[in-house]
Subunit: 142 residues, 4 copies
Amino acid sequence: MNKPPVGKETFSWPVRVYWEDTDAGGIVFYANYLKFFERSRTEWLRARGINQQALREATGGMFVVGEAQVRFLKSARLDDELLVTTSLLETGRASMTIHQQALLTTTTGPRLLCEATIRAGWVNASTLKPDRIPAQILHALT
Amino acid sequence: MNKPPVGKETFSWPVRVYWEDTDAGGIVFYANYLKFFERSRTEWLRARGINQQALREATGGMFVVGEAQVRFLKSARLDDELLVTTSLLETGRASMTIHQQALLTTTTGPRLLCEATIRAGWVNASTLKPDRIPAQILHALT
Amino acid sequence: MNKPPVGKETFSWPVRVYWEDTDAGGIVFYANYLKFFERSRTEWLRARGINQQALREATGGMFVVGEAQVRFLKSARLDDELLVTTSLLETGRASMTIHQQALLTTTTGPRLLCEATIRAGWVNASTLKPDRIPAQILHALT
Amino acid sequence: MNKPPVGKETFSWPVRVYWEDTDAGGIVFYANYLKFFERSRTEWLRARGINQQALREATGGMFVVGEAQVRFLKSARLDDELLVTTSLLETGRASMTIHQQALLTTTTGPRLLCEATIRAGWVNASTLKPDRIPAQILHALT
């Protein structure tokens, strides 16, 4: 799993754990961390001026996840407060690679629960075929 | 809550409870019964020859739920087997009203867990404005 | 559908619409409004000093929804900002009835998308049998 | 990504794509493939006589996913029929590694949409600490 960039380049988004996120094991269902990661990526884009809905109407394209490597280290529970980070590792012509972490907020500091390396490709929203990431996005991200 | 029609008019669809459906209370999260009801409505339409994706491409319309009255009587748990029923109560020009039940399969027969009366309206998929239910659907349903 | 109390008694919680909330119709999937309502109820309880996880450990009880009447008036879309309100209509010995609304935040003010009347009962978390709402909760809510 | 074992060792479970599984991109939301994979793993266990709910009551343990490597190759859409496979790659004392695929059923044969390598560890359900996989499970699986 790649190392994340450090410092000011890492974006953080708070996520609270609700009933909907948990399962009968008393912990957050594993697929739901991918929801949390998506929320953080969306807010990271928004913080850089990128509104995905508007961009899709303007360009006909959207991001689709092509690969996800996820390590689930510790479990979050109901009412937990998480910080979900996003940091850009690399951009290509048609995809970008991102490192993300879900950190539990505790009185003694953040504790890593789950981390992922995600590759998201830009596709034509109708055909789902890979396409070049619009320059507007590349400028905003890098 | 309206009485369902009886006998052959009631469509049944089996649903198994998985981890994803449960919450930290050890039971199915209340919103997920609406997922089960939607699955049963879709399969009920499919059994009558109606494929919603194809119909949308052909007519530009889709069903959207306008009202749901739901009673949660008993709770389903992980691994439970349910039968989720759909029966048509009434059709109008732009909407239909359906009665649905989620029944737990037990060795002593089905036990009612949750029931709902659902009104679904037909809308233009682009504008979301109400529209007449296509004749093809009305013929298939009644 | 009951009228909500007005003014300071109504609790509001912001909810952003993410990809996970939408469906292929381009709008928020109907069951997901029940997730939004649950988040608002949980934050309303938290704002009154009630942590459900801690309370369950202390009392062995939890709230379970017994009835939901939901009207879906207009649809939310990706990236929409909602305010989800909670206001208490009535408390009994073993249940409370709540009015909730999901309002779209627009430049010309809030627009009602979805509203619900929800009855939530207090149950023993092991047996799921109805029980008296703990005095601590009743004091905090009323 | 590891190669799956072939032939009779691969378990298959049919999954239909419903509205709940899709997002505003018109395709299955990426996190939901992990739900499909979990359903297939559960049914694979059940087909080998392992009921997770009963096992937890008997042993106090449960499986928790520790790592997932997922490749999303093509997208499923509403009404699609998938086959979701599970095949055991390796078992250790406290975890097992599984290869899973989501295949679209087409008239010209199955088409690979998504595949994953999943490591699931056995944990004490109360403490969430790793524990030995019960012999009963190892016997059933290998």
